[in-house]
Amino acid sequence: LPICPNGSVNCQISTGDLFDRAVKLSHYIHSLSSEIFNEFDERYAQDRGFITKSINACHTSSLNTPEDKAQAQQIQHEELLNLVLRVLRSWNDPLVHLVSEVQGIKEAPDTILWKAVEIEEQTKRLLEGMEKIVKRVQPGDLGNEVYSLWPGPQDVQVADEDSRLFAFYNLLHCLRRDSHKIDNYLKLLKCRLIHDSSC
């Protein structure tokens, strides 16, 4: 089957288009992550002081990610792209777990369940796109290190309700944070690589 119309050689989606789609998807994923966190926080976490316990408790905290504009300006785009890929991959298992466990939360509204499923699905789509972008931007080895920074769901199995709710709260808190990082870095990379830092 000829791949491209009338024999043109390089018929593929432009890198600019790939970035556009990745940014739309990351924006959507973060918006959903914020909504699901806020909904859970309002319904299950009020006055439980979970925020103090969630300090330095994200499984991705050890990843050295830029935390202000100056740091982001210094980092090479290959490194930033790979960071985005690593953060995304580190959420594969936790999101699978989140979707299965959310159904066990007492009177969890459908909206929380729907958003968990949607976030997991769209994150997989974004990962597919990021792998394509990284291959396009730096054709070398994609580095498919198996990623499981996530220690696994042991807290969630414990009986006492407070610990179980905190385990969820922390997962959603970290998801909101990491999805915002991914969204921010992708918007920045798009401006840098596609619009020559002149968005």
Binding site: L1, I3, C4, P5, Q12, K24
Partner: protein, 210 residues
């Protein structure tokens, strides 16, 4: 054998591919003549990531002469090369290939909640965009068109509303009943269907503009 008028089928033509929300898409084809014999149609496709030939996953959902690609088979990140083969006893014939990038074949669902309010000197038409993630999060801009006509008239009057989700229609006749529809289109995409017809009768007290 050819004397009995039976031949291989004509080349089918892929007429359009559309996606309502970039998560799924469908393609439709127009068969050519079937050469006087029972003819079978298969849609084959490949993508950059999976260059091996795959067959249409679902010939039913989008109706006759169609192929429906569900979420699992729809990727934002690749160009699809699609061909339809017509085959009968005498042989087969393939359509020209169609190259599809899902982001550029969006035909959104129509606008919703069309509301009509008669104000002193004009009719205020308001609507909501179709519910689609990209729109809700401000990442896909839609432009709108509305059309209206007196109930018994033949000709529609069409207005372009740009990105607005409301529009003031002037010069209407008191006592007349009007029917209104709205449609929308993304930057790189196709016009939606028109929204269902909405009716309104202009009261006699309406101040016609000179």
């Amino acid at each position: 054998k050819f004397l009995d008028g039976q031949t291989a089928p004509d080349k089918p033509e892929i007429i359009k591919c559309r996606s309502p929300e970039k998560e799924t898409f469908s393609c439709w084809w127009k068969p050519g003549s079937d050469g006087g014999l029972p003819t079978n149609y298969t849609l084959l496709y490949s993508t950059e990531k999976h260059p091996e030939i795959m067959e249409c996953p679902d010939y039913k959902t989008s109706g006759p002469n169609s192929c429906y690609f569900d979420k699992k088979h729809t990727s934002l990140w690749t160009i699809y090369t699609i061909v339809v083969n017509a085959t009968n006893e005498k042989g087969s014939n393939a359509s020209n290939p169609k190259f599809v990038d899902v982001t550029y074949i969006i035909e959104p669902y129509p606008p919703t909640n069309v509301s009509l309010t008669v104000e002193k000197t004009h009719l205020l038409v308001k609507w909501l965009p179709p519910s689609m993630a990209d729109i809700k999060y401000g990442w896909l801009t839609l432009v709108y068109e509305l059309r209206l006509k007196a109930e018994k008239a033949q000709e529609w009057v069409t207005h372009s509303a740009g990105q607005q989700t409301q529009f003031n229609v002037l010069s209407l006749h008191p006592g007349e009943t009007y029917v209104v529809q709205v449609r929308c289109k993304p930057d790189h995409g196709f016009w939606s269907q028109w929204s269902p017809e909405t009716y309104i009768q202009i009261p006699n007290t309406f101040q016609e503009r000179d």
